[in-house]
Protein backbone atom coordinates (compact mmCIF):
# COMPACT_ATOMS: atom_id res chain seq x y z
CA UNK A 1 0.00 0.00 0.00
CA UNK A 2 1.39 3.43 -0.85
CA UNK A 3 2.76 5.42 2.04
CA UNK A 4 0.46 7.97 3.62
CA UNK A 5 -2.71 6.69 1.98
CA UNK A 6 -5.38 4.15 2.97
CA UNK A 7 -7.57 2.01 0.76
CA UNK A 8 -11.26 1.80 1.51
CA UNK A 9 -11.51 -1.24 -0.73
CA UNK A 10 -8.58 -3.45 -1.62
CA UNK A 11 -7.40 -2.20 -5.00
CA UNK A 12 -5.25 -3.41 -7.84
CA UNK A 13 -2.17 -1.57 -9.15
CA UNK A 14 -4.43 0.53 -11.31
CA UNK A 15 -7.15 1.22 -8.72
CA UNK A 16 -7.83 4.89 -8.26
CA UNK A 17 -11.08 6.10 -6.82
CA UNK A 18 -11.09 4.61 -3.35
CA UNK A 19 -7.65 5.63 -2.16
CA UNK A 20 -7.92 8.31 0.50
CA UNK A 21 -5.17 10.29 2.21
CA UNK A 22 -4.38 9.09 5.72
CA UNK A 23 -4.33 12.73 6.88
CA UNK A 24 -7.22 14.77 5.49
CA UNK A 25 -6.96 18.46 4.62
CA UNK A 26 -7.65 20.96 7.37
CA UNK A 27 -10.01 23.84 6.58
CA UNK A 28 -7.25 26.32 5.63
CA UNK A 29 -5.45 23.67 3.56
CA UNK A 30 -8.68 22.95 1.73
CA UNK A 31 -9.05 26.66 0.98
CA UNK A 32 -5.43 26.92 -0.17
CA UNK A 33 -5.78 23.83 -2.37
CA UNK A 34 -8.99 25.25 -3.85
CA UNK A 35 -7.27 28.54 -4.69
CA UNK A 36 -4.31 26.70 -6.25
CA UNK A 37 -6.64 24.58 -8.40
CA UNK A 38 -8.49 27.69 -9.57
CA UNK A 39 -5.20 29.46 -10.40
CA UNK A 40 -3.99 26.46 -12.44
CA UNK A 41 -7.23 26.33 -14.40
CA UNK A 42 -7.41 30.11 -14.87
CA UNK A 43 -3.79 30.39 -16.02
CA UNK A 44 -4.25 27.54 -18.51
CA UNK A 45 -7.49 29.03 -19.84
CA UNK A 46 -5.87 32.45 -20.17
CA UNK A 47 -3.00 31.09 -22.27
CA UNK A 48 -5.28 28.91 -24.42
CA UNK A 49 -7.94 31.54 -25.04
CA UNK A 50 -5.42 34.31 -25.78
CA UNK A 51 -3.39 31.94 -27.93
CA UNK A 52 -6.50 31.03 -29.93
CA UNK A 53 -6.43 34.47 -31.54
CA UNK A 54 -3.56 33.21 -33.62
CA UNK A 55 -0.11 34.35 -34.65
CA UNK A 56 1.72 36.31 -31.91
CA UNK A 57 5.32 36.38 -30.70
CA UNK A 58 4.65 33.25 -28.65
CA UNK A 59 2.13 31.55 -30.92
CA UNK A 60 3.36 30.07 -34.20
CA UNK A 61 1.49 30.57 -37.45
CA UNK A 62 -0.92 27.69 -37.72
CA UNK A 63 -3.92 26.43 -39.70
CA UNK A 64 -7.02 27.64 -37.84
CA UNK A 65 -7.75 24.75 -35.47
CA UNK A 66 -9.08 26.75 -32.55
CA UNK A 67 -11.23 29.33 -34.30
CA UNK A 68 -14.15 28.36 -32.11
CA UNK A 69 -12.31 29.87 -29.13
CA UNK A 70 -11.63 33.20 -30.85
CA UNK A 71 -13.31 36.27 -29.41
CA UNK A 72 -12.99 35.47 -25.72
CA UNK A 73 -9.34 36.37 -25.13
CA UNK A 74 -6.87 38.97 -26.34
CA UNK A 75 -3.70 38.42 -28.36
CA UNK A 76 -1.14 36.63 -26.16
CA UNK A 77 1.76 38.88 -25.19
CA UNK A 78 4.92 38.08 -23.21
CA UNK A 79 3.76 39.85 -20.07
CA UNK A 80 0.41 38.07 -19.80
CA UNK A 81 1.99 34.74 -20.63
CA UNK A 82 4.76 35.14 -18.06
CA UNK A 83 2.32 36.18 -15.34
CA UNK A 84 0.20 33.12 -16.21
CA UNK A 85 3.28 30.87 -16.19
CA UNK A 86 4.52 32.20 -12.85
CA UNK A 87 1.05 31.94 -11.29
CA UNK A 88 0.73 28.39 -12.63
CA UNK A 89 4.14 27.50 -11.19
CA UNK A 90 3.36 28.98 -7.76
CA UNK A 91 0.01 27.18 -7.59
CA UNK A 92 1.67 23.94 -8.70
CA UNK A 93 4.21 24.33 -5.90
CA UNK A 94 1.42 24.94 -3.41
CA UNK A 95 -0.47 21.84 -4.52
CA UNK A 96 2.70 19.72 -4.43
CA UNK A 97 3.23 20.75 -0.82
CA UNK A 98 -0.28 19.50 0.00
CA UNK A 99 -0.17 16.53 -2.37
CA UNK A 100 -0.07 13.80 0.28
CA UNK A 101 -3.30 15.09 1.77
CA UNK A 102 -5.21 15.61 -1.48
CA UNK A 103 -7.96 13.17 -2.44
CA UNK A 104 -7.05 11.12 -5.50
CA UNK A 105 -10.24 12.07 -7.31
CA UNK A 106 -9.41 15.79 -7.00
CA UNK A 107 -6.00 15.31 -8.49
CA UNK A 108 -7.19 13.07 -11.32
CA UNK A 109 -9.98 15.52 -12.20
CA UNK A 110 -7.54 18.46 -12.16
CA UNK A 111 -4.96 16.74 -14.36
CA UNK A 112 -7.67 15.61 -16.77
CA UNK A 113 -9.09 19.13 -16.99
CA UNK A 114 -5.68 20.71 -17.63
CA UNK A 115 -4.87 18.15 -20.33
CA UNK A 116 -8.22 18.61 -22.07
CA UNK A 117 -8.16 22.43 -21.96
CA UNK A 118 -4.75 22.57 -23.60
CA UNK A 119 -5.63 19.92 -26.15
CA UNK A 120 -8.70 21.90 -27.21
CA UNK A 121 -6.67 25.04 -27.89
CA UNK A 122 -4.09 26.20 -30.43
CA UNK A 123 -0.52 24.98 -30.89
CA UNK A 124 1.58 26.79 -28.29
CA UNK A 125 5.15 28.12 -28.39
CA UNK A 126 6.70 25.79 -30.99
CA UNK A 127 6.57 24.90 -34.66
CA UNK A 128 7.84 21.34 -34.08
CA UNK A 129 4.45 19.74 -34.72
CA UNK A 130 4.44 21.26 -38.22
CA UNK A 131 7.85 19.70 -38.84
CA UNK A 132 6.43 16.30 -37.81
CA UNK A 133 3.61 16.71 -40.34
CA UNK A 134 5.96 18.09 -43.00
CA UNK A 135 8.30 15.06 -42.76
CA UNK A 136 5.32 12.73 -43.04
CA UNK A 137 3.95 14.57 -46.06
CA UNK A 138 7.40 14.59 -47.67
CA UNK A 139 7.52 10.81 -47.45
CA UNK A 140 3.96 9.90 -48.33
CA UNK A 141 2.81 12.64 -50.71
CA UNK A 142 6.06 13.69 -52.38
CA UNK A 143 8.17 10.51 -52.24
CA UNK A 144 11.07 12.35 -50.56
CA UNK A 145 13.07 10.60 -47.83
CA UNK A 146 12.71 12.78 -44.68
CA UNK A 147 15.95 11.30 -43.31
CA UNK A 148 17.92 12.79 -46.20
CA UNK A 149 16.20 16.10 -46.94
CA UNK A 150 14.47 18.95 -45.13
CA UNK A 151 11.02 20.46 -45.75
CA UNK A 152 12.56 23.02 -48.16
CA UNK A 153 12.08 20.30 -50.79
CA UNK A 154 8.27 20.67 -50.58
CA UNK A 155 7.85 24.42 -51.01
CA UNK A 156 4.59 23.90 -52.87
CA UNK A 157 3.04 21.93 -50.00
CA UNK A 158 0.55 23.70 -47.72
CA UNK A 159 2.53 22.75 -44.61
CA UNK A 160 5.69 24.52 -45.81
CA UNK A 161 4.72 27.99 -44.56
CA UNK A 162 4.17 26.71 -41.03
CA UNK A 163 7.53 24.96 -40.54
CA UNK A 164 10.01 26.94 -38.42
CA UNK A 165 12.58 28.73 -40.63
CA UNK A 166 15.48 27.15 -38.71
CA UNK A 167 14.32 23.66 -39.65
CA UNK A 168 13.48 24.07 -43.33
CA UNK A 169 16.79 22.54 -44.45
CA UNK A 170 17.01 20.01 -41.65
CA UNK A 171 16.28 16.32 -42.19
CA UNK A 172 14.21 14.66 -39.47
CA UNK A 173 15.95 13.83 -36.19
CA UNK A 174 13.06 11.65 -35.01
CA UNK A 175 13.19 7.87 -35.09
CA UNK A 176 11.48 5.65 -37.64
CA UNK A 177 8.97 4.29 -35.10
CA UNK A 178 7.64 7.81 -34.69
CA UNK A 179 7.74 8.55 -38.40
CA UNK A 180 6.09 5.31 -39.52
CA UNK A 181 3.60 4.69 -36.73
CA UNK A 182 2.75 8.13 -35.38
CA UNK A 183 3.05 10.57 -38.29
CA UNK A 184 2.68 8.75 -41.62
CA UNK A 185 -0.82 7.39 -40.80
CA UNK A 186 -2.06 10.94 -40.21
CA UNK A 187 -1.25 12.26 -43.70
CA UNK A 188 -4.53 11.10 -45.33
CA UNK A 189 -6.42 13.24 -42.80
CA UNK A 190 -5.27 16.43 -44.53
CA UNK A 191 -3.44 19.31 -42.88
CA UNK A 192 -6.00 20.30 -40.25
CA UNK A 193 -6.97 16.68 -39.64
CA UNK A 194 -3.33 15.71 -39.11
CA UNK A 195 -2.85 18.62 -36.72
CA UNK A 196 -5.85 17.55 -34.64
CA UNK A 197 -4.64 13.94 -34.75
CA UNK A 198 -1.22 15.08 -33.50
CA UNK A 199 -2.92 16.85 -30.60
CA UNK A 200 -4.94 13.72 -29.87
CA UNK A 201 -1.77 11.61 -30.02
CA UNK A 202 -0.11 13.93 -27.51
CA UNK A 203 -3.16 13.69 -25.24
CA UNK A 204 -3.23 9.89 -25.41
CA UNK A 205 0.53 9.65 -24.89
CA UNK A 206 0.16 11.94 -21.88
CA UNK A 207 -2.67 9.77 -20.52
CA UNK A 208 -0.54 6.63 -21.02
CA UNK A 209 2.47 8.25 -19.31
CA UNK A 210 0.37 9.35 -16.37
CA UNK A 211 -1.40 5.99 -16.01
CA UNK A 212 1.92 4.14 -16.14
CA UNK A 213 3.45 6.59 -13.66
CA UNK A 214 0.54 5.87 -11.31
CA UNK A 215 1.01 2.13 -11.71
CA UNK A 216 4.80 2.27 -11.24
CA UNK A 217 4.45 4.38 -8.11
CA UNK A 218 2.02 1.87 -6.60
CA UNK A 219 4.22 -1.07 -7.56
CA UNK A 220 7.13 0.59 -5.76
CA UNK A 221 5.10 1.48 -2.68
CA UNK A 222 5.14 5.22 -3.43
CA UNK A 223 2.03 7.36 -3.03
CA UNK A 224 0.73 7.68 -6.63
CA UNK A 225 -1.27 10.86 -6.03
CA UNK A 226 1.71 13.23 -5.56
CA UNK A 227 3.44 11.37 -8.41
CA UNK A 228 0.50 11.99 -10.74
CA UNK A 229 0.21 15.61 -9.66
CA UNK A 230 3.94 16.28 -10.05
CA UNK A 231 3.88 15.13 -13.68
CA UNK A 232 0.34 15.83 -14.91
CA UNK A 233 -0.01 19.35 -13.49
CA UNK A 234 3.56 20.43 -14.15
CA UNK A 235 3.58 23.85 -15.87
CA UNK A 236 6.14 22.89 -18.51
CA UNK A 237 4.38 19.58 -19.13
CA UNK A 238 0.94 21.14 -19.57
CA UNK A 239 1.74 24.39 -21.38
CA UNK A 240 4.82 23.46 -23.41
CA UNK A 241 4.84 19.69 -24.00
CA UNK A 242 1.10 19.20 -24.38
CA UNK A 243 0.52 22.69 -25.77
CA UNK A 244 3.04 22.06 -28.52
CA UNK A 245 1.90 18.42 -29.06
CA UNK A 246 5.52 17.34 -28.71
CA UNK A 247 6.55 13.77 -29.47
CA UNK A 248 8.55 13.73 -26.22
CA UNK A 249 5.24 12.64 -24.68
CA UNK A 250 5.18 9.53 -26.89
CA UNK A 251 8.78 8.80 -25.90
CA UNK A 252 7.91 9.25 -22.21
CA UNK A 253 5.03 6.78 -22.57
CA UNK A 254 7.40 4.15 -23.98
CA UNK A 255 9.92 4.85 -21.19
CA UNK A 256 7.32 4.45 -18.47
CA UNK A 257 6.02 1.33 -20.25
CA UNK A 258 9.53 -0.10 -20.00
CA UNK A 259 9.75 0.67 -16.28
CA UNK A 260 6.33 -0.88 -15.65
CA UNK A 261 7.22 -4.02 -17.59
CA UNK A 262 10.55 -4.35 -15.78
CA UNK A 263 8.83 -4.07 -12.42
CA UNK A 264 6.54 -6.90 -13.57
CA UNK A 265 9.60 -9.00 -14.42
CA UNK A 266 8.91 -8.87 -18.16
CA UNK A 267 12.42 -8.03 -19.28
CA UNK A 268 12.15 -8.69 -23.03
CA UNK A 269 9.03 -6.54 -23.58
CA UNK A 270 10.59 -3.88 -21.35
CA UNK A 271 13.72 -3.80 -23.53
CA UNK A 272 11.55 -3.63 -26.66
CA UNK A 273 9.69 -0.68 -25.13
CA UNK A 274 12.96 1.20 -24.50
CA UNK A 275 14.13 0.56 -28.06
CA UNK A 276 10.75 1.73 -29.38
CA UNK A 277 11.11 4.90 -27.28
CA UNK A 278 14.62 5.45 -28.63
CA UNK A 279 13.24 5.04 -32.16
CA UNK A 280 10.81 7.84 -31.38
CA UNK A 281 13.43 10.12 -29.84
CA UNK A 282 17.01 8.98 -29.41
CA UNK A 283 17.46 10.17 -25.85
CA UNK A 284 15.28 7.32 -24.51
CA UNK A 285 18.19 4.98 -25.26
CA UNK A 286 19.74 6.36 -22.05
CA UNK A 287 17.66 3.82 -20.10
CA UNK A 288 19.16 0.77 -21.80
CA UNK A 289 22.60 0.48 -20.17
CA UNK A 290 21.13 0.94 -16.71
CA UNK A 291 18.40 -1.60 -17.36
CA UNK A 292 20.98 -4.09 -18.65
CA UNK A 293 23.31 -3.60 -15.68
CA UNK A 294 20.57 -3.78 -13.09
CA UNK A 295 18.62 -6.70 -14.51
CA UNK A 296 21.49 -8.77 -15.96
CA UNK A 297 19.04 -10.92 -17.90
CA UNK A 298 19.51 -12.57 -21.30
CA UNK A 299 15.90 -11.68 -22.05
CA UNK A 300 16.82 -7.97 -21.97
CA UNK A 301 19.58 -8.49 -24.54
CA UNK A 302 17.35 -10.60 -26.76
CA UNK A 303 14.62 -8.00 -26.49
CA UNK A 304 17.01 -5.24 -27.57
CA UNK A 305 18.48 -7.23 -30.44
CA UNK A 306 15.07 -8.41 -31.61
CA UNK A 307 13.60 -4.92 -31.57
CA UNK A 308 16.58 -3.44 -33.45
CA UNK A 309 16.48 -6.25 -36.01
CA UNK A 310 12.76 -5.78 -36.59
CA UNK A 311 13.21 -2.02 -36.89
CA UNK A 312 16.04 -2.54 -39.39
CA UNK A 313 14.03 -4.98 -41.51
CA UNK A 314 11.06 -2.64 -41.66
CA UNK A 315 12.74 0.77 -41.93
CA UNK A 316 15.90 0.26 -44.00
CA UNK A 317 13.95 -0.61 -47.19
CA UNK A 318 11.89 2.56 -46.69
CA UNK A 319 14.39 5.11 -45.35
CA UNK A 320 17.81 3.51 -45.90
CA UNK A 321 20.37 3.19 -43.11
CA UNK A 322 19.99 6.88 -42.20
CA UNK A 323 16.65 6.01 -40.62
CA UNK A 324 18.45 4.08 -37.88
CA UNK A 325 21.56 6.24 -37.66
CA UNK A 326 21.09 7.45 -34.11
CA UNK A 327 24.69 8.64 -33.78
CA UNK A 328 24.38 11.03 -36.75
CA UNK A 329 21.20 12.52 -35.28
CA UNK A 330 22.86 12.95 -31.87
CA UNK A 331 25.97 14.56 -33.37
CA UNK A 332 23.89 16.99 -35.37
CA UNK A 333 21.76 18.00 -32.36
CA UNK A 334 24.86 18.38 -30.18
CA UNK A 335 26.09 21.23 -32.39
CA UNK A 336 22.96 23.36 -31.90
CA UNK A 337 23.00 26.20 -29.38
CA UNK A 338 20.01 27.86 -27.72
CA UNK A 339 19.93 30.98 -25.55
CA UNK A 340 18.04 29.05 -22.85
CA UNK A 341 20.73 26.42 -22.41
CA UNK A 342 22.64 26.47 -19.14
CA UNK A 343 25.87 26.22 -21.12
CA UNK A 344 25.13 29.57 -22.81
CA UNK A 345 24.16 31.16 -19.50
CA UNK A 346 27.40 30.01 -17.85
CA UNK A 347 29.36 31.30 -20.85
CA UNK A 348 27.70 34.71 -20.36
CA UNK A 349 28.52 34.55 -16.65
CA UNK A 350 32.20 34.23 -17.51
CA UNK A 351 32.03 37.11 -19.98
CA UNK A 352 31.97 35.01 -23.14
CA UNK A 353 29.49 35.76 -25.93
CA UNK A 354 28.43 32.11 -26.18
CA UNK A 355 29.65 28.53 -26.24
CA UNK A 356 32.73 27.57 -28.27
CA UNK A 357 33.75 24.13 -29.66
CA UNK A 358 35.94 23.53 -26.59
CA UNK A 359 32.88 24.05 -24.40
CA UNK A 360 31.02 21.34 -26.34
CA UNK A 361 33.92 18.98 -25.60
CA UNK A 362 34.01 19.90 -21.90
CA UNK A 363 30.26 19.36 -21.58
CA UNK A 364 30.52 15.96 -23.26
CA UNK A 365 33.32 15.05 -20.88
CA UNK A 366 31.22 16.07 -17.88
CA UNK A 367 28.31 14.01 -19.18
CA UNK A 368 30.52 10.96 -19.70
CA UNK A 369 31.86 11.28 -16.13
CA UNK A 370 28.33 11.52 -14.71
CA UNK A 371 27.10 8.53 -16.71
CA UNK A 372 30.16 6.44 -15.76
CA UNK A 373 29.55 7.19 -12.07
CA UNK A 374 25.86 6.26 -12.42
CA UNK A 375 26.70 3.03 -14.28
CA UNK A 376 29.06 2.00 -11.50
CA UNK A 377 26.49 2.82 -8.84
CA UNK A 378 23.82 0.86 -10.71
CA UNK A 379 26.17 -2.12 -10.91
CA UNK A 380 26.54 -1.87 -7.12
CA UNK A 381 22.80 -1.85 -6.51
CA UNK A 382 21.58 1.74 -7.00
CA UNK A 383 18.05 2.02 -8.45
CA UNK A 384 18.40 1.85 -12.24
CA UNK A 385 15.26 3.94 -12.75
CA UNK A 386 16.77 6.77 -10.70
CA UNK A 387 20.11 6.40 -12.52
CA UNK A 388 18.28 6.67 -15.86
CA UNK A 389 16.47 9.77 -14.61
CA UNK A 390 19.74 11.38 -13.50
CA UNK A 391 21.23 10.65 -16.91
CA UNK A 392 18.30 12.24 -18.74
CA UNK A 393 18.52 15.28 -16.48
CA UNK A 394 22.29 15.49 -17.03
CA UNK A 395 21.78 15.32 -20.81
CA UNK A 396 19.31 18.23 -20.63
CA UNK A 397 21.53 20.33 -18.34
CA UNK A 398 24.76 19.77 -20.29
CA UNK A 399 23.09 20.19 -23.69
CA UNK A 400 23.79 23.44 -25.52
CA UNK A 401 20.31 23.14 -27.05
CA UNK A 402 17.78 23.22 -24.21
CA UNK A 403 14.04 23.51 -24.69
CA UNK A 404 11.34 23.49 -22.02
CA UNK A 405 10.16 19.97 -22.77
CA UNK A 406 13.68 18.53 -22.44
CA UNK A 407 13.50 19.24 -18.71
CA UNK A 408 10.53 16.84 -18.56
CA UNK A 409 12.38 13.73 -19.68
CA UNK A 410 13.45 12.80 -16.16
CA UNK A 411 10.24 13.86 -14.39
CA UNK A 412 8.13 10.66 -14.67
CA UNK A 413 11.15 8.60 -13.58
CA UNK A 414 11.86 10.99 -10.70
CA UNK A 415 8.42 10.56 -9.15
CA UNK A 416 8.65 6.76 -9.04
CA UNK A 417 12.06 6.55 -7.35
CA UNK A 418 12.87 6.69 -3.66
CA UNK A 419 15.86 8.98 -4.21
CA UNK A 420 13.98 12.25 -3.65
CA UNK A 421 17.02 14.25 -4.76
CA UNK A 422 16.17 13.43 -8.39
CA UNK A 423 12.72 15.00 -8.13
CA UNK A 424 14.11 18.02 -6.27
CA UNK A 425 16.86 18.44 -8.90
CA UNK A 426 14.42 18.07 -11.81
CA UNK A 427 12.01 20.60 -10.36
CA UNK A 428 14.94 22.88 -9.47
CA UNK A 429 16.16 22.85 -13.06
CA UNK A 430 12.63 23.62 -14.24
CA UNK A 431 12.37 26.55 -11.83
CA UNK A 432 15.64 27.93 -13.22
CA UNK A 433 14.38 27.45 -16.78
CA UNK A 434 11.19 29.34 -15.95
CA UNK A 435 13.15 32.07 -14.13
CA UNK A 436 15.26 32.57 -17.26
CA UNK A 437 12.10 33.24 -19.28
CA UNK A 438 11.08 36.12 -17.06
CA UNK A 439 13.42 38.87 -18.29
CA UNK A 440 10.72 40.47 -20.52
CA UNK A 441 8.74 41.09 -17.34
CA UNK A 442 11.43 43.44 -16.09
CA UNK A 443 12.45 44.94 -19.40
CA UNK A 444 9.97 45.28 -22.21
CA UNK A 445 11.55 47.01 -25.22
CA UNK A 446 9.11 49.84 -25.93
CA UNK A 447 8.70 50.01 -29.67
Amino acid sequence: MPAGRVERVGGSRWSIPNSQPAQPLSAWMRALAGVCVLVLLAATLEVVLDGALGHAPLIPRSPAVSRWLVGIGERLGYRVFLIALLSFTAAYGGLLALARRLPARWVIALVLALNLIVCAGPILFSTDVFSYIAYARMGLLHGINPYLHGPHTIKSDAIYTYVGPDWLRTATAYGPVYTLLFSYPLVPLGLKGALWAMKLEALLASAATLALTWRCARQRGIDPVPALLAVGANPLYVLYALGGAHNDLVMNAFMMGAVTLTLAGRDAPAAISVVAGALVKTVAAALLPFMLLARRRTATIWGVLGAIALAAVVTIPIFGVRGLDIIAALNRDAKLVSTDSFATEIAHLFGKPGVFPIDHDLLKLALVAIVAHLLWRTWRGYDWVAASGWTLLAIAVTSTWLLAWYTLWSLPLAVVTRDRRLLIATLGVQVLFIAHQTSPLFSVVSK
Partner: protein, 179 residues
Amino acid sequence: MSDSSASIPRASVWERLPERLRPRERELRGRGDLRRIESTLLALAFVLLAIAVVNDVVLSTHVAYRITADLRTYRRLTGHETYHNISVEQDLVHHTSRDVLCGNTAPGPPGALPQICLILTGPVRHGERASHGGFYLPPYTRDKRISRYGCFGSAVREELCAAAIPPGALHAPVPGADG
Protein backbone atom coordinates in the same frame (compact mmCIF):
# COMPACT_ATOMS: atom_id res chain seq x y z
CA MET B 1 7.52 -10.62 -9.45
CA SER B 2 8.03 -13.41 -11.95
CA ASP B 3 11.65 -13.95 -12.83
CA SER B 4 11.68 -16.59 -15.51
CA SER B 5 14.54 -15.28 -17.66
CA ALA B 6 18.08 -16.39 -16.96
CA SER B 7 20.71 -14.11 -15.47
CA ILE B 8 23.77 -13.39 -17.62
CA PRO B 9 26.24 -14.73 -16.81
CA ARG B 10 25.16 -17.02 -13.99
CA ALA B 11 25.58 -15.81 -10.46
CA SER B 12 28.61 -18.03 -9.93
CA VAL B 13 30.55 -16.08 -12.58
CA TRP B 14 30.03 -12.81 -10.71
CA GLU B 15 31.07 -14.52 -7.49
CA ARG B 16 34.54 -15.03 -8.90
CA LEU B 17 35.01 -11.26 -8.87
CA PRO B 18 36.43 -9.59 -5.76
CA GLU B 19 33.63 -8.47 -3.46
CA ARG B 20 34.18 -4.78 -4.25
CA LEU B 21 33.57 -5.43 -7.97
CA ARG B 22 30.60 -7.78 -7.71
CA PRO B 23 27.14 -6.61 -8.81
CA ARG B 24 24.57 -6.14 -6.07
CA GLU B 25 20.80 -6.38 -6.09
CA ARG B 26 20.58 -3.57 -3.53
CA GLU B 27 22.99 -0.94 -2.29
CA LEU B 28 24.54 -1.53 1.11
CA ARG B 29 23.64 0.96 3.79
CA GLY B 30 26.99 2.64 4.36
CA ARG B 31 27.92 5.72 6.34
CA GLY B 32 26.39 7.91 3.68
CA ASP B 33 29.67 9.52 2.63
CA LEU B 34 29.05 9.00 -1.09
CA ARG B 35 25.54 10.38 -0.80
CA ARG B 36 26.88 13.40 1.09
CA ILE B 37 29.51 14.08 -1.59
CA GLU B 38 26.94 13.70 -4.38
CA SER B 39 24.49 16.00 -2.62
CA THR B 40 27.19 18.62 -2.05
CA LEU B 41 28.22 18.54 -5.71
CA LEU B 42 24.57 18.79 -6.76
CA ALA B 43 24.01 21.77 -4.48
CA LEU B 44 27.14 23.49 -5.82
CA ALA B 45 26.08 22.83 -9.41
CA PHE B 46 22.63 24.23 -8.65
CA VAL B 47 24.10 27.38 -7.11
CA LEU B 48 26.30 27.90 -10.19
CA LEU B 49 23.31 27.46 -12.51
CA ALA B 50 21.18 29.78 -10.39
CA ILE B 51 23.85 32.51 -10.46
CA ALA B 52 24.19 32.08 -14.23
CA VAL B 53 20.42 32.39 -14.70
CA VAL B 54 20.16 35.52 -12.54
CA ASN B 55 23.16 37.03 -14.34
CA ASP B 56 21.53 36.32 -17.72
CA VAL B 57 18.21 37.85 -16.66
CA VAL B 58 20.02 40.98 -15.40
CA LEU B 59 22.03 41.19 -18.66
CA SER B 60 18.86 40.88 -20.75
CA THR B 61 17.19 43.54 -18.64
CA HIS B 62 20.09 45.94 -19.16
CA VAL B 63 20.20 45.26 -22.91
CA ALA B 64 16.45 45.85 -23.26
CA TYR B 65 16.74 49.10 -21.26
CA ARG B 66 19.59 50.22 -23.52
CA ILE B 67 17.74 49.32 -26.73
CA THR B 68 14.68 51.25 -25.59
CA ALA B 69 16.94 54.29 -25.13
CA ASP B 70 18.58 53.62 -28.54
CA LEU B 71 15.22 53.60 -30.31
CA ARG B 72 14.14 56.79 -28.58
CA THR B 73 17.41 58.50 -29.54
CA TYR B 74 17.21 57.34 -33.17
CA ARG B 75 13.65 58.58 -33.59
CA ARG B 76 14.46 61.99 -32.10
CA LEU B 77 17.65 62.56 -34.11
CA THR B 78 16.21 61.39 -37.44
CA GLY B 79 12.84 63.03 -36.86
CA HIS B 80 11.08 59.75 -37.65
CA GLU B 81 9.02 59.64 -34.49
CA THR B 82 6.55 57.04 -35.82
CA TYR B 83 9.05 54.49 -37.17
CA HIS B 84 8.61 50.94 -35.81
CA ASN B 85 10.83 48.92 -38.13
CA ILE B 86 14.23 50.06 -36.93
CA SER B 87 16.88 47.35 -36.94
CA VAL B 88 19.27 47.14 -34.00
CA GLU B 89 22.65 45.46 -34.33
CA GLN B 90 24.54 44.79 -31.12
CA ASP B 91 28.27 44.20 -30.76
CA LEU B 92 28.12 40.49 -30.01
CA VAL B 93 31.78 39.94 -30.84
CA HIS B 94 33.38 42.26 -28.29
CA HIS B 95 30.37 42.53 -25.97
CA THR B 96 30.51 46.33 -25.84
CA SER B 97 27.42 48.52 -25.54
CA ARG B 98 27.95 49.95 -29.04
CA ASP B 99 24.74 49.53 -31.07
CA VAL B 100 24.06 50.36 -34.72
CA LEU B 101 20.46 51.29 -35.57
CA CYS B 102 19.23 51.47 -39.15
CA GLY B 103 15.92 52.57 -40.64
CA ASN B 104 14.45 53.95 -43.85
CA THR B 105 15.34 57.51 -44.87
CA ALA B 106 11.66 58.01 -45.77
CA PRO B 107 8.46 56.10 -44.92
CA GLY B 108 8.14 52.79 -46.80
CA PRO B 109 8.31 48.99 -46.39
CA PRO B 110 11.13 47.85 -44.05
CA GLY B 111 14.50 48.07 -45.82
CA ALA B 112 12.96 49.01 -49.17
CA LEU B 113 14.49 52.51 -49.24
CA PRO B 114 18.01 53.80 -48.55
CA GLN B 115 18.82 53.30 -44.86
CA ILE B 116 20.21 55.81 -42.43
CA CYS B 117 22.25 54.23 -39.66
CA LEU B 118 23.38 55.75 -36.36
CA ILE B 119 26.09 54.48 -34.03
CA LEU B 120 25.07 54.75 -30.38
CA THR B 121 27.45 54.42 -27.47
CA GLY B 122 27.80 55.24 -23.77
CA PRO B 123 25.44 55.12 -20.83
CA VAL B 124 21.72 55.89 -20.87
CA ARG B 125 21.14 59.49 -19.75
CA HIS B 126 17.64 60.93 -19.45
CA GLY B 127 16.30 57.96 -21.40
CA GLU B 128 18.63 58.43 -24.37
CA ARG B 129 22.19 57.60 -25.48
CA ALA B 130 24.85 59.51 -27.31
CA SER B 131 25.38 59.24 -31.07
CA HIS B 132 28.61 60.57 -32.55
CA GLY B 133 28.40 59.19 -36.05
CA GLY B 134 26.63 57.16 -38.67
CA PHE B 135 26.39 56.22 -42.35
CA TYR B 136 23.97 55.29 -45.13
CA LEU B 137 23.14 51.94 -46.77
CA PRO B 138 21.44 51.15 -50.11
CA PRO B 139 17.99 49.45 -49.98
CA TYR B 140 17.86 45.76 -49.10
CA THR B 141 21.57 45.66 -48.24
CA ARG B 142 23.23 44.04 -45.25
CA ASP B 143 25.39 46.27 -43.07
CA LYS B 144 28.89 45.63 -44.42
CA ARG B 145 31.74 48.09 -44.98
CA ILE B 146 31.63 47.55 -48.73
CA SER B 147 27.99 48.76 -48.88
CA ARG B 148 28.24 51.78 -46.57
CA TYR B 149 28.44 55.33 -47.91
CA GLY B 150 28.10 58.90 -46.64
CA CYS B 151 29.89 58.34 -43.34
CA PHE B 152 29.76 61.19 -40.84
CA GLY B 153 31.15 61.87 -37.37
CA SER B 154 33.06 59.02 -35.73
CA ALA B 155 32.27 56.73 -38.69
CA VAL B 156 34.62 58.85 -40.85
CA ARG B 157 37.47 58.49 -38.34
CA GLU B 158 36.83 54.74 -38.03
CA GLU B 159 36.78 54.46 -41.86
CA LEU B 160 33.53 52.50 -41.84
CA CYS B 161 32.49 53.42 -45.38
CA ALA B 162 33.93 51.89 -48.56
CA ALA B 163 31.20 52.58 -51.13
CA ALA B 164 30.87 55.69 -53.28
CA ILE B 165 27.84 57.89 -52.73
CA PRO B 166 25.23 56.91 -55.38
CA PRO B 167 24.24 59.84 -57.67
CA GLY B 168 21.46 61.88 -56.15
CA ALA B 169 21.41 59.86 -52.92
CA LEU B 170 20.79 61.52 -49.58
CA HIS B 171 24.06 61.59 -47.60
CA ALA B 172 23.84 64.53 -45.24
CA PRO B 173 25.12 64.12 -41.67
CA VAL B 174 22.34 63.81 -39.09
CA PRO B 175 22.35 66.88 -36.81
CA GLY B 176 23.22 65.82 -33.26
CA ALA B 177 24.97 62.68 -34.47
CA ASP B 178 27.77 64.21 -36.47
CA GLY B 179 30.46 64.06 -33.80
